[in-house]
């Protein structure tokens, strides 16, 4: 079979044949003006065809830096300044003045020169005149120092082996190295050589393989793509940031939880954000003088100021329940219920207000149980924002209206719900919520932290809450709820709850679901 090689590989082979001997890979790369990596990849191609190979040598080299190269021709700064002083026949001058006159010299280089002149005992400086003054103390114009002599032995880009230096030269090298005019590099260099086969092969008989970086329409349609090799991409490197569209992590989580509810047979509900105290508090059997209703917890509104109440008979049912228990069989709170307080408007403090509206609808439409509904929606508390508190957050709530539904049913559905959320271990313990009885608190085991976390509350709505809406024993309402943000913080490893709603775009672009 005919040998096929890339154009560049062929030309490198040709150069090696012409050189007819070993050469340094780095030298050759410079000579051909190609990247070292590209050269070595070509050599590897040749090696694959047993045409060339390389051996490695450890070397310890010294060479000039750019600044040093400059001084080979233009002299060291100390010599430059001295020459200037001699030319102008200056014996004494203030440093400020001299610096002004030599403004072609960089500040830093100027002082390096002055310091070295002092070291060479060419000059001294003194503050005696009140101003920093330079005095030339060398009688004659001094010959080259050892350092200058050594410097002048170098050609521009010359590299020497450190091991070849004499003791004296090493001293001078160290001085130049300290002044950052020279550098020392220990490295492994590669010596390239041709194999016998490589030396003998007739280049003209090798077929060229052309390389391209882009496939053109023409290459595809004409079929010439077959004649090309595609320039390799570094597949290990990451690409530039794609600034694409993405769902907000919290919304993603909300949708996951919605799916869970749907799979358990729950229907999604939604209710007003601006709510009446009636649905937010009174219908939940929350006495009107209860501390939780006070201003500091609730956003009450100046505008709109008053809400309309539902039908008179339902308002009366709630009023009676507060005052004497009404039909519910309760003792009630024993105070005079005020309709005006119930009409106040507020930003709802919990989605349970919407749940109660669903009970009202149940009554209005003479519906038949079982009914399962849920909501995941915003609620508001008049709180100062900090690491773990928001004034606006999201509640997850589920309820079941059913005949003979029990605490065990509630425990069952909650356990199922949390399992679907990924919490395999769920504990339910006694708790207290003003509008449920019995009540149940929920804790889940979170594997990633190895600890138990409180994750919501639940219970059976008190008869005082359900009776006004015609939900009477043995018909009952099971309910549970939890905060979304707590879950989101766990899932997205956030320590500050505010992060969830300030939209750091860096986070949004990087977060995984």
């Amino acid at each position: 079979m005919k040998l096929r090689l890339k154009t560049q590989v062929i030309s490198i082979l040709k150069v090696l044949q012409e050189k007819d001997g070993d050469c340094l890979a780095s030298d050759l790369a410079r000579e051909l003006n190609i990247d070292y990596i590209v050269l070595m990849s070509a050599i590897n191609d040749l090696k694959d065809h047993e045409l060339a190979d390389f051996k490695e040598q450890d070397v310890d080299q010294i060479s000039m830096n750019e600044e040093g190269v400059n001084y080979i021709k233009n002299q060291l700064p100390e010599r430059q300044i001295l020459t200037y002083l001699a030319k102008k026949n200056i014996k004494e001058i203030s440093l400020e003045e001299l610096k002004k006159q030599l403004k072609s010299l960089d500040d830093k280089i100027f002082y390096v020169g002055i310091n070295n002149m002092k070291k060479n005992r060419w000059i001294s400086t003194s503050n005696a005149t009140g101003e920093n003054t330079l005095f030339v103390i060398t009688e004659t114009f001094p010959p080259d120092t050892e350092l200058e002599k050594f410097l002048k032995t170098f050609k521009k880009k010359e590299i020497r082996d450190f091991s070849q230096l004499s003791k004296e030269e090493i001293i001078q090298f160290n001085l130049l190295n300290k002044r950052k005019l020279m550098k020392r590099e220990k490295k492994t260099r590669r010596v390239l050589f041709l194999t016998e086969k490589g030396k003998r092969i007739d280049i003209l008989k090798i077929e060229e393989l052309k390389q391209v970086s882009k496939i053109t329409t023409e290459m595809i349609s004409s079929g010439t793509w077959k004649d090309y090799e595609f320039k390799p991409f570094d597949v290990t490197k990451p690409g530039p940031l794609l600034k694409g569209g993405k769902i907000h992590p919290v919304v993603y989580l909300i949708n996951e939880i919605r799916e869970i509810f749907i799979s358990l047979g729950f229907t999604e509900i939604r209710g007003p954000i601006i709510e009446s105290a009636f649905f937010n508090f009174d219908a939940l059997f929350q006495p009107q003088d209860h501390p939780a209703r006070e201003m500091h917890d609730t956003f009450y509104l100046k505008n709109p100021k008053m809400a309309k109440l539902p039908k008179k008979d339902r308002v009366k049912a709630v009023k009676d329940t507060h005052e004497n228990g009404g039909e519910s069989g309760s003792l009630g709170w024993g105070y005079e219920w005020d309709e005006q307080i119930a009409k106040r408007t507020l930003l709802r403090t919990h989605t349970t207000a919407t749940t109660i509206r669903r009970l009202a609808q149940f009554y209005e439409n003479n519906e038949v149980p079982p009914i399962k509904v849920f909501s995941i929606d915003r609620v508001f508390r008049n709180e100062k924002l900090d690491k773990s508190h928001l004034a606006e957050f999201t509640q997850i709530e589920g309820i079941v209206i059913g005949e003979n539904v029990s605490l065990c049913d509630l425990k069952g559905i909650i356990t199922e719900f949390y399992k679907k959320m990924g919490f395999q271990k769920v504990i339910t313990r006694p708790g207290f919520f003003p509008y449920t009885e019995p009540s149940m608190e929920i804790s889940v085991y979170y594997d990633k932290l190895g600890s138990w976390l409180e994750m919501g509350g639940s219970g059976i709505f008190r008869p005082e809450v359900t009776y006004p809406w015609g939900i009477k024993n043995p018909m009952r309402v099971l309910a549970w709820g939890l905060g979304l943000e707590r879950l989101a913080m766990l899932k997205f490893r956030r320590n500050d709850i505010r992060d969830l709603y300030i939209n750091p775009i860096k986070w949004l672009r990087q977060e995984s679901y």
Binding site: I273, I274, S330, L331, K372, C408, I460, Y501
Partner: protein
């Protein structure tokens, strides 16, 4: 929720059983206490108790419940009350001021430092949990031996009587002065606001015992050497003052003291003998409780459950019912349903089986469904979703956006704690501008959107407002312009199948650059705005590149 520090050694003494911190940490949750914190060095546990259980405001109260849980003692705890000689005469002048008072005497107290702490603490806790911060109930504890029965509870003119109050500077003050200058007076003056007479407790020699609900007199200060206590509880609700007295006196009795009754003579001729620790009897249906919890307990098993939560229970003469007696320190039983939870706690929540109710077919809310559809379209268009609050600040919402607003025409919050919030948003765009401000140093282009609610006043609606679904999108980079955002709008409308139904009309809007702004009409109705944001607004939000934006009301589109 209120909290309490429990010393494990003290609990051991009260319960008469060896306890460990770990064991308690597990056990306490089953009697509805939340363990907040554990201090192994000091051997204490901090617990949180629920506001319906003020009797848990002392270690004595918790010990009582634990004794039942461990089955060391079952049923209602028994207390002996000796007949005492102390009398309290209530004057009818208090009727319109602070009508109720109940009292008690506790003899032979011998409190250690820890118990004195508890006594102070339980007063604090009861003031809060039962007393609504002294409004409904205020508690006074006095050295009985400094005063002489019969005592009187009267209401007097604010400047008519002076006495030396506790925690004052030692000088006599009249009642009006106390409210003005005394720390406690200032703190609680609001309770007596608008009253022309102030309540006062005096003994038979007219020595002032207390000025409830504000401060005690210095005369009856309780010290190390006090052996006999007089308790007074005044308030506006007889049930509440009685409950607080019962909790306080049973706690003191549990420390080993003797309780003595006081005769309280009301002006209508009625006399109360307090404290009255008689249990209240309820009839509870066995079926009802079983059905509620989801169990099938026999009567005898259910009786045991009640006994474990320190209630007495036995078969009622009425078939299928139990007679259940509730201890006098419990005030939270107001409906038969309250017994279901007690029974469940007695049975043990951890022992309840799991059952599942089948039935019902789930359904998404159409608005949420539609929101998700919009999200998919926007992501396809290359926009990143952000989420902001509905709460907002009217300066940023209107002034920064070069929009006028009349206070009367927007939602107004009365009492925001944080000045950041005084209204709710009427569009999403200002929030996206804030998001750009926050992220202005991030890599461009920044293209973001939000789907969410805005709130509009709607006087005809039940609560005076409606929530409406909006979409807003902005694009921010050095080439952002009208064409780009117009393409976005066209992409959305095409995906919704509404492209044919929209028309963009040039218009004027101070938020946008003139001649680069359009109003979006859908089937003849204005549903949105689109354009390039005015440079002044870019400066308000510290932005250095152009912004092209759109805002759409989606309510009619789904």
């Amino acid at each position: 929720m209120p909290t309490l520090d429990l010393n494990v050694n003290r609990l051991e003494r009260l319960i008469g059983k060896e306890l460990t911190i770990e064991g308690l940490e597990y056990d306490l949750q089953w009697i509805s206490l939340d363990v907040e914190d554990i201090n192994v060095e000091e051997n204490t546990i901090k617990v949180e108790y629920n506001p319906n259980r003020p009797d848990f405001s002392s270690p004595e109260g918790i010990a009582r419940a634990l004794k039942g849980y461990y089955e060391i003692e079952l049923g209602v705890p028994k207390y002996v009350i000796n007949d005492g000689e102390v009398q309290m005469n209530v004057d009818d002048s208090v009727n319109t001021v602070r009508p109720f008072i109940v009292c008690g005497v506790v003899r032979d107290i011998d409190l250690d430092e820890d118990e004195v702490g508890t006594l102070m603490n339980i007063q604090e806790q009861l003031h809060w949990a039962v007393g609504r911060d002294r409004k409904k109930v205020a508690i006074g504890v006095h050295d009985l031996d400094k005063i002489k029965t019969p005592f009187r509870y009267v209401a007097v003119k604010p400047d008519s009587i002076s006495f030396i109050p506790l925690h004052g500077d030692g000088d006599p003050m009249n009642l009006e002065e106390i409210l003005k200058y005394h720390d406690k007076g200032k703190e609680y003056a609001h309770i007596l606001e608008g009253k022309s007479l102030y309540p006062l407790l005096i003994d038979c020699n007219d020595q002032v015992i207390s000025f409830p609900p504000i401060i005690n007199g210095i005369l009856t200060t309780v010290t190390d050497s006090t052996r006999n206590l007089f308790l007074d509880l005044t308030g506006t609700d007889l049930k509440a003052v009685s409950l607080a007295l019962n909790i306080l006196s049973t706690m003191l009795a549990d420390t080993g003291a003797k309780i003595e009754s006081v005769v309280v003579n009301y002006p209508n001729g009625e006399s109360l003998i307090t404290p009255n620790l008689e249990s209240l009897k309820w009839e509870v249906s066995v079926d009802y409780v079983n059905n509620y919890i989801g169990l099938n307990l026999k009567e005898s098993d259910m009786i045991k459950c009640f006994q474990k939560v320190r209630m007495d229970a036995k078969k009622s003469p009425k078939k299928g019912y139990l007679d259940v007696w509730v201890p006098a320190y419990r005030g939270d039983m107001i409906h038969p349903v309250d017994f279901t939870e007690e029974c469940a706690i007695g049975y043990g929540y951890s022992n309840l089986p799991l059952t599942i109710r089948e039935g019902c077919i789930g359904q998404y809310h159409p608005i949420q469904d539609f929101s998700n559809k919009i999200r998919m379209i926007m992501i396809g268009a290359g926009y990143l979703e952000v989420l902001n609050f509905i709460l907002t600040n009217s300066e940023k919402h209107y002034d920064y956006m070069r929009q006028e607003h009349e206070e009367k025409k927007v939602v107004q919050i009365i009492n925001p704690i944080s000045k950041e919030y005084d209204t709710t948003r009427t569009q999403i765009l200002p929030k996206l501008m804030e998001t750009l401000l926050f992220n202005r140093s991030e890599e461009k282009p920044i293209k973001i959107f939000e789907v969410g609610d805005i709130i509009l006043l709607a006087p005809k609606e039940e609560t005076g407002a409606i929530r409406t679904l909006h979409l807003s999108a902005v694009t921010y980079h050095d080439d952002a312009n009208f064409t780009e955002i117009r393409s976005t709008l066209d992409f959305i409308m095409t995906a919704l199948g509404e492209y044919e139904n929209i028309i963009i009309k040039p218009g004027n809007n101070l938020t946008y650059i003139n001649n680069r702004y359009g109003e979006i009409f859908w089937k003849g109705k204005k549903i949105g705005e689109i354009g390039e944001i005015h440079p002044e607004i870019l400066i308000n939000f510290k932005l250095e590149f152009p912004v092209a934006a759109l805002e759409l009301n989606l309510q009619d589109l789904f």
